[in-house]
Symmetry: C2
Subunit: 212 residues, 2 copies
Amino acid sequence: MEAIPLLTLKRLPQYLEALNRLQEADLKMVPATKIAKSTGVHMTQVRKDLAYTGVVGTPKIGHNVDELIQAIEQCLNWNDISSCFLVGVGQLGKALMGYSELSKKGLRIIAAFDSNPDLAGTYYQGIQIHSMAKLSNLLSRLHIHIGILTVPAEVAQEIADDMIAGGIIAIWNFTPARLHVPEHVIVENIDMSSSLAVLSRRVAESLHQSNS
Amino acid sequence: MEAIPLLTLKRLPQYLEALNRLQEADLKMVPATKIAKSTGVHMTQVRKDLAYTGVVGTPKIGHNVDELIQAIEQCLNWNDISSCFLVGVGQLGKALMGYSELSKKGLRIIAAFDSNPDLAGTYYQGIQIHSMAKLSNLLSRLHIHIGILTVPAEVAQEIADDMIAGGIIAIWNFTPARLHVPEHVIVENIDMSSSLAVLSRRVAESLHQSNS
């Protein structure tokens, strides 16, 4: 399986979003220029990125919309549902447990874990919450490869280590902690704190400038 | 007000996280080496970043923990609560409306907006939801500068344009859409789709490799 470059991978969901809209509008064929226009990505880049899907366009007519959607979903493995575990049933964890968009993007949370004993055995959004003690056993029994991490930052590394010991090879990290993991483990960070830091500071700088 | 480099800004919340833990453990002074160790950032970089806070350390002893926390929060403008509007009360919007961490990081959602007429006039987590028709009037009346965007991708640009016309200078964009905005407007993207695309593909590549 060919390794698709990082930035191409990050753009594929944007193309998919645009293509889904074109499909809803009953468009059958789409030129790269149209995808470029609606995503704001340069046409040359769109062409390069789409080449990774293996779908070949017709000159002056473009790509078949249905075929391209299917090919991108296959590239991203989104047509295949992967089961995953979520650890840390706080506000953010609960939000993700209720976020149905995830399953459209190939990810299904099949069990959750939390250190709060009151939560053990309860359900949220139809997903059972287990005690942390059960994590390692369930990970290996169910052959789970992906873990979502929504615990407090101070325990993130420790829990990540437990996940990896249990067979997790990919962690979707929503904590501000930077995880240290073995080379074979994939970590994707969603860092709301960093993003908010940039936003808040830039606003302060901007307001300060316009007042001075 | 000095412009702090992007990557420094993104790291400041990590230092803050580490410092808060040290403060809880009753530590008074902290050397940069300790911050470096607990965040995984190189010591030289930690020193450079901390210089932007204006707090001066003592050789061999380090920085005063309380002073450093306060200085970082001031750099990020997190000690000052900014009011903001949220547009798009779907699953993600609701999750953010219930996410109390935001107010600890200087952001308070004071009103929400949605195109669904059934939601207009209702409350969620104590925050009133208004019809879209009220957005522009309330934006200018309340002098709001920050908008959180959690609408479907296909209307993101249009709503962003409305926000900016009403006086918004910073958009926290949770949609997969890439926004085109005037130069003075700050956009910070939280792109869960791109992140999930990378994660899913890398897992597929990794599993494929170990099976072959």
